[in-house]
């Protein structure tokens, strides 16, 4: 089966304050290949409703496994009021890795700050995760996959650090966000889990044991978005005027047809070049939690 199919995560975009330093982390330490480096074109920035991002330097990186899924770093200043895991929008990108314990050793002393060391999760034997924050305050989960879950296939890494296979979306209204993703993007609702989510409890100062509910959104057995219902204390993500949201800024998904979805995009679909777009049409919409969802057409 082709890697590119409806709902596939094609790219996670990160806003980062120092592109060269971030490249040291993502290329030199994580081992992703730099496949494109340029500046953001005006019309692309406008299509994200982020005109002030035009002309900013960016780098596109691809896993050494060669799968056509990317991480895009775009230079942007930090926002002093942005605190990870406290705001709505894209909260984290989950990458599949070969050896999470070895990686945990390698990231020590790097630009990545470990916020959650590798730890098996009780009742979830499918992967061992760890969590780090990058220089742009973006959250990454490195997951060493052990097995598929009963309802979804989890990709085992084919390179030390492979592609993003789940993106985490923080929302004030989980049911409404699920409706958006199902009806607007033609994705499917997977399993819901109520658990002691230590990342959320720590971020909001909640007692250990406080339960949160998360729901997977997928396409067939391919997981795509983990929708997390955030506590009432969460806020909209602050952002500089005309710029991308800080941290985990954009998620790019493949879709069968842009026209078929009938969405009201920020700007009309446009054909774009480069390794990510591959001369296909792309357009961006605003999701129910204020997140930017860029879609690349497969047809």
């Amino acid at each position: 089966m082709s890697f590119d199919r409806h709902g596939r995560i094609k790219c996670g975009t990160v806003a980062t304050p120092d592109l060269d330093a971030a490249l040291g982390d993502y290329r030199d330490l994580l081992g992703l290949d730099l496949v494109e480096r340029s500046t953001v074109p005006d019309d692309l920035a406008a299509s994200w409703s982020a005109p002030a991002s035009a002309g900013r330097a960016y780098a596109l990186l691809q896993p050494r496994s060669g799968v056509p899924s990317f991480v895009r770093l775009i230079e942007a200043p930090l926002h002093e009021r942005f605190t990870p895991t406290r705001t709505f929008g894209w909260a984290a990108f989950e990458l599949t890795v070969k050896d999470v314990y070895g990686l945990a050793e390698r990231v020590k002393g790097s630009g990545f700050e470990t916020v959650g060391p590798p730890k098996p999760i009780e009742g979830l034997p499918y992967f061992v995760p760890m969590q780090v924050l990058g220089r742009g305050r973006e959250m990454l989960y490195f997951n060493e996959v052990a097995m598929d879950t009963p309802s979804s296939d989890l990709p085992k890494a084919q390179s030390e650090v492979d592609h993003i296979f789940i993106v985490i979306l923080a929302t004030p209204d989980r049911p409404e966000t699920l409706q958006h993703l199902k009806h607007r993007l033609r994705l499917e609702e997977g399993g819901s889990y109520t658990l002691n989510y230590t990342m959320i409890n720590a971020a909001f100062g909640l007692a250990d044991g406080t339960q949160s509910t998360i729901t997977m959104v997928q396409s067939g057995r391919m997981p795509i978005v983990e929708v997390d219902g955030y506590p009432e204390a969460a806020t909209e993500r602050p952002r500089h005027d005309g710029m991308l949201p800080p941290g985990n800024a954009i998620v790019t998904l493949a879709v069968r047809s842009l026209d078929e979805l009938g969405l009201c995009f920020i700007a009309p679909p446009a054909r774009r070049s480069g390794p990510l777009y591959a001369d296909r049409r792309a357009a961006t919409l605003i999701g129910s939690a204020g997140e930017l969802i860029e879609l690349v057409e497969l047809e």
């Binding site: 009938g262 969405l263 009201c264 700007a267 009309p268 605003i286 999701g287 204020g290």
Partner: protein, 104 residues
């Protein structure tokens, strides 16, 4: 008394050849407008000097841009491809007869 209104304005530009789908879907469009009337501050077609329709201007009384975009997505004109481009921005109705004066 000035009313404080949360609003978003949609400036919809017609696609080439929009006349035919507009005629075809007029009835469904008007039915949809009636359905969401409570969420409309004002709306109507944009005309050129010859009186030909070139798009639409719609101001929604909604809290978020996402809601405004969803109203556009549900409009039969959008589904039929009448509009080539839809630009949406928050609108602050701060003066005029619609809001009953000025708020400064």
């Amino acid at each position: 008394m000035i009313r404080q209104i949360s609003a978003f304005a949609a400036y919809c530009i017609d696609a080439p050849g929009a006349d035919e789908p507009r005629r075809e879907h007029l009835k469904a469009h008007l039915a949809y407008v009636e359905q969401v009337m409570e969420k409309l501050l004002i709306g109507g077609p944009l005309k050129d000097e010859a009186g030909e329709t070139i798009g639409s201007l719609i101001v929604f009384a909604v809290e978020t841009e996402v809601e405004a975009r969803q109203h556009i997505e549900n409009d039969p004109y959008h589904r039929a491809g009448v509009w080539r481009d839809v630009r949406i921005a928050r609108f602050l109705p701060v003066a005029g007869t619609l809001v009953g004066g000025r708020n400064w």
